[in-house]
């Protein structure tokens, strides 16, 4: 089937990602989970909701890496990569916040709870939406890339603070396990059956997120190269 000898070496992470997610869907429903009050079967959302956030943080982290790379190389391609990884991360975040809302409705009794982690997630998503708006508000390519790269670094730091530091402070109470003196996470995270599904699911969704980011980056790159080629040729005709 492989037309190129490098097919597996080129695409292994896409194949692995899809298979891991597929495995998490099958095993996520059919596997054994601990019986806990309130949660009941919704504990399986760990494989589908929590993974969105893990994947989002990873993909947005990748975006920051390219932003920093842009600041040192000045290459437009690094900026494009950062932009499209950020979009993929935002997509995962929006999925995370909507799935979390549904989960909260049936376990915490409301679509939205005044929970530090929920509010933190909402704020960080707004910060990233501002990143998209900031980009679209600037026409000059290098300036936009530079401002966006610096903003992206700030945005990621704030994301970490809002999602991982602030909800864990002892001063705040959080419904989320493992936050604000709420230690419940360990009671099911330590379940080895669930780990066997959860970690592959996280890895799978990270790879799916990277795949989506990669595809949209390559389309943007093609468009950019075409623009450059056109302007170069027009210049040649004029000269």
């Amino acid at each position: 089937m492989a037309t190129q000898p490098s097919f597996i070496s080129k695409h292994w992470w896409k194949i692995t990602g899809a298979l891991f997610v597929m495995y998490s869907i099958i095993e996520g429903f059919l596997g054994k989970v601990p019986a806990l009050p309130i949660l009941h079967e919704t504990i399986r959302n760990l494989y589908f909701h929590v993974t969105m956030w893990f994947a989002m943080i990873f993909v947005l982290g990748g975006s920051v890496v390219y932003s920093i790379r842009y600041l040192s190389t000045g290459s437009v391609y690094d900026d494009l990569r950062a932009e499209h990884m950020a979009s993929a991360g935002i997509l995962l975040g929006l999925l995370g916040i909507t799935t979390g809302s549904v989960w909260a409705r049936f376990t915490w009794g409301g679509w939205w709870a005044n929970d530090p982690k929920l509010n933190g997630a909402a704020i960080s998503l707004l910060i990233y939406l501002a990143y998209v708006i900031l980009r679209s508000s600037m026409d000059e390519e290098q300036k936009r890339a530079r401002v966006a790269a610096v903003y992206n670094i700030f945005a990621f730091v704030l994301l970490i603070v809002f999602l991982m530091v602030y909800p864990r402070l002892n001063q705040v109470d959080s419904l989320h396990p493992g936050n604000g003196g709420n230690p419940a996470f360990s009671s099911y995270d330590l379940d080895s059956n669930m780990r066997l599904v959860f970690y592959p699911a996280v890895a799978g969704w990270i790879m799916m997120g990277l795949w989506i980011a990669n595809l949209s980056y390559r389309i943007a790159k093609l468009r950019y190269d075409k623009l450059m080629w056109q302007s170069e040729n027009n210049l040649l005709i004029e000269e």
Binding site: I15, I26, E27, F29, L30, G31, K32, A35, I212
Partner: protein, 73 residues
């Protein structure tokens, strides 16, 4: 390629069965899983996800083709 995929799928199915048969001390909607046809939902989700992956693969091929066309230019 197909051989690779099939062997991996086989491994997954095997892993599922081995996990299912691992000690059932705490009962929890096990009846639903065996007679309640939850596997139908699993099958549907697998189809949905496969559809999304196939869409991505198609997109991948189209982008690949455009990239090739560009280098041939």
């Amino acid at each position: 390629m197909m051989k690779y995929l099939l062997s991996f799928l086989f491994f997954l199915v095997q892993a599922c069965f081995s996990l299912l048969s691992a000690g059932n001390e705490v009962e929890m909607a096990t009846g639903m899983r065996s007679e309640g046809k939850i596997y139908v939902v699993v099958a549907v989700l697998c189809i949905v996800f496969t559809g999304i992956v196939l869409f991505l693969v198609r997109l991948e091929r189209r982008v690949n083709k455009l990239e090739k066309e560009k280098t041939d230019l």
